[in-house]
Symmetry: C2
Subunit: 574 residues, 2 copies
Amino acid sequence: MQWFPAAQWLRGYNRSLFTADFIAAIIVTIMLIPQSLAYAMLAGVPPEVGLYASVLPLVAYALFGTSRTLSVGPVAVVSLMTASAVSDAVAVTGADYHQAAILLALLSAAMLIGMGLLRFGFLANFLSHPVVSGFISASGIIIALSQLKHVLGISAHGETLIELGESLLAHVAQTNGYTLGVGVFALLFLAWCRTYLGVSLVRMGCSKDLASTLTKTAPVISIAATIALAYGFDLADRGVAIVGAVPSGLPSLGLPAFDWRLIEQLWPSALLISIIGYVESISVGRTLGAKRRQRVHSDQELIGLGSANLASALSSGFPVTGGFSRSVVNFDAGAQTPAASIMTALGIALAAMFLTPVLFYLPKATLAATIIVAVMSLVDLGLLKRAWSYSKSDGLALAGTIVITLLAGVEAGVVTGVALSIFLHLYHTSKPHVAIVGEVPGTQHFRNVNRHKVITAPTICSIRIDESLYFPNAAYLEDVVYAQVAKNPELKHVVLMCSAVNVIDLSALEALEMINERLTELGIGLHLSEVKGPVMDALERSHLLHALNGHVYLSQHEAFTQLQSGAGASRLGD
Amino acid sequence: MQWFPAAQWLRGYNRSLFTADFIAAIIVTIMLIPQSLAYAMLAGVPPEVGLYASVLPLVAYALFGTSRTLSVGPVAVVSLMTASAVSDAVAVTGADYHQAAILLALLSAAMLIGMGLLRFGFLANFLSHPVVSGFISASGIIIALSQLKHVLGISAHGETLIELGESLLAHVAQTNGYTLGVGVFALLFLAWCRTYLGVSLVRMGCSKDLASTLTKTAPVISIAATIALAYGFDLADRGVAIVGAVPSGLPSLGLPAFDWRLIEQLWPSALLISIIGYVESISVGRTLGAKRRQRVHSDQELIGLGSANLASALSSGFPVTGGFSRSVVNFDAGAQTPAASIMTALGIALAAMFLTPVLFYLPKATLAATIIVAVMSLVDLGLLKRAWSYSKSDGLALAGTIVITLLAGVEAGVVTGVALSIFLHLYHTSKPHVAIVGEVPGTQHFRNVNRHKVITAPTICSIRIDESLYFPNAAYLEDVVYAQVAKNPELKHVVLMCSAVNVIDLSALEALEMINERLTELGIGLHLSEVKGPVMDALERSHLLHALNGHVYLSQHEAFTQLQSGAGASRLGD
């Protein structure tokens, strides 16, 4: 871990790096203004809070994070989880919504920094790829659905597919035509820009980079256009919800009040938000890092994100993390160092000071459209088919995560997904693949008798167990050996080929002792081969090696040759 | 699964089997009468209920279970768990205690039969040996401590070490001298019989079998003696708690009332009791079965135990399972078939009909002493040292289970134990052992360069990853490969030796694709060797094999030889 990773890039900072960073900062700032306002709305906090969460957190991550191009701030999934957690906690405690969101950011900061100091970065690895992408796809659907009410100009609420669907259906008759007009215009414009604008611009002679940059300004254009519409046609008077007065200036710094009852309600959600935010952020960081051969340090990243959330809480913001789309824009725009993020923060600060009066007439439907178009690109249901065809377990974990997230909400979804993927793994290891092996002719290599033409001997049964021997499969191991013994009446030796055995725990050790005892009674030798170093080290501290009626062979070839010739054997292990 | 396993042994039943079973039944009946009364007291139900739970459940298991010698009925740990679950549920719902215990047996029956039909027997494997024995040891301590109040003649309550200790200390001043006298007499007598009686009898010329049988009658003798004492000296008038009037006869058959609120409270405990009871029972069944080469079928055992609990619930009993000490007595006394259990059930039924008046003066202190001596033999704290010295993980799981069971109760203990052992396993697989391997001279066998004198080549790095590649270690895999690449500037080929890789899941597949992409950019070949059949089958359904810049070799020897000579390579896998 490095205490101040920024020292690395600050040392060699020069004018050409500055120029690149400055250009990237301008592009990202333009993209971030609508995004910050929209995700604030999604999280349920006032729009200016979205801007606050895009100033100091960027600076904090630039100083303490390890990715050069990651852009930190409000993101869709974490904003949705914030809304879900805060509204539940507020319903129970009656606390102020915005204060609770700030406290959530603070709790998340404490957890992230704590996990970083304890080097708990490995915890993120327990969210498998199917679980993360299933969760993000399903969250995207929930987010899009939750924003539909702003496009229709109706009120609706709910945290699951069914609640949202029912609520929308119940109110759809009250749809405001003007709002729908603005919303559909923004949706179509944004969707068109995303799909066709870049291609059209290139055809018109733009460079690819410029086209891609201009495409990113679409949300700003849609905002400007709909503000003009709302102002020009007095849409607010016709029932179109607008953002209204947004306070200018920067937030005063300070900590939220410590409301212990609120903390009690919020901490489990804070933990989930921290882990999900971390996983999302580090996978973006790693992907971008790999493209430029820059390493991201998993434990220091926890510190970096933790300080970003601390900065957010200090400046009245809500939970933030490294976002996919914003980081990709930053990267593509040529950002070279975290200085780009610091300059972006300055840009957003200027916007918060001087731009807010302009936002008065901004229709909420436009922000909702921005969110919907952004999150729909996260939804990847095609992965379901790909995952299922590669492995039923991965497919099942993915499907389970999607279904539970849609039907029972984001927190239940991610917890179920992790539990399901761990259970499926354990289930498979509890009934491991077992191969009876023989020697591939002309080699010293042993392979499955069912897949290869191999040499075997009637008095020797060589069993390769394709799994570590530990408690979930200890009983199964006994079954496997006894079944072979029952099947082969001529049997004189059983050799357990341990090339795939990475650990033998106490439960499996007892199973081996039982097997040894029983085979001894039957006059059958029990031997081990290819026992790995760490496993052998452990066995040497146990009683098994003394009790074993047979030998431990360095290689399966040696075991087979010596047992066939009836010769004595070495007692070696790696 | 067999629907009526009793058909197997009924077919060949004859007079000599009957004689053996009959003798065993008499011995087990004599042992079971005090045990049934004592465990009923431990579970908090009236004494006659202990007898009821030892009649029909034995018959049901004899017909539907698969162990020939397992003896089913009230056992210590399950009785303690029953007391804990029922008293909590009764406190919340205000239901009748005995009715709640019957309902618990019914719920447990439904769960066991359900798990049997779904073939969920494998679930028991997730309780590792350290967790089960830690749980039983700690439960033994809790049980002994909970019975101390009866020996002292005071009132005390609690479910954890601290609660019980505080409660006992608070009331110890009220100790009744007479009760203490009876209790200590029974304790010393029972402990002496257990340790010395057998040896003494053998010295006096008894056969070993007879001596061991006579030893088992100690609880009956202590009961008879203390009943005589209590009657002769009017101990009840001197404050010694006695069992009092026990209704004679057999229970009427019937189901408990379906109290949904009570079911809501009881079901999590019923699940734990079912799993713990099943694990205890099947491990006893397997141990005894192994001695006579008889197989116990894990899924059918669930049906057998489920029907025993159903029978218990039908006859006003409480949760039962296969007990260790009673089964060993049955086995040692020469029981050959489950008919022994049916005759034992008849014996207990006769006792329930005719013996209960005799029990009026039985001091509760005697029953408590019976329990204490029985459970202290379950406590094996020496395992802690043995487990720790064999493997830190097993030691930690064992210690965690013991500590949490003692401090937070039986249910928290077993849940924590299972979670801890699974977490420790996953943690280890998330940072697997990795060996750089070379060829052992004169063989085709590859071993760790740090442990063996082996042949390597500067342009080839052969990495053996000692774990399946799956989500917890997917990121680690990338780190390992990149670290080797960074360390070896001459590197031209990386070979991943997959002998220990039993599965490659989607997350690891993506990591491999990333590695392949990055090594391709660096001009380094990525090869796989010794990929197992099932793993290869999965890879063939993926994109990786097409994208891979290197080859898949049958053996590591082949990979090393061909890459060194610069020759082309086969694309085979087992």
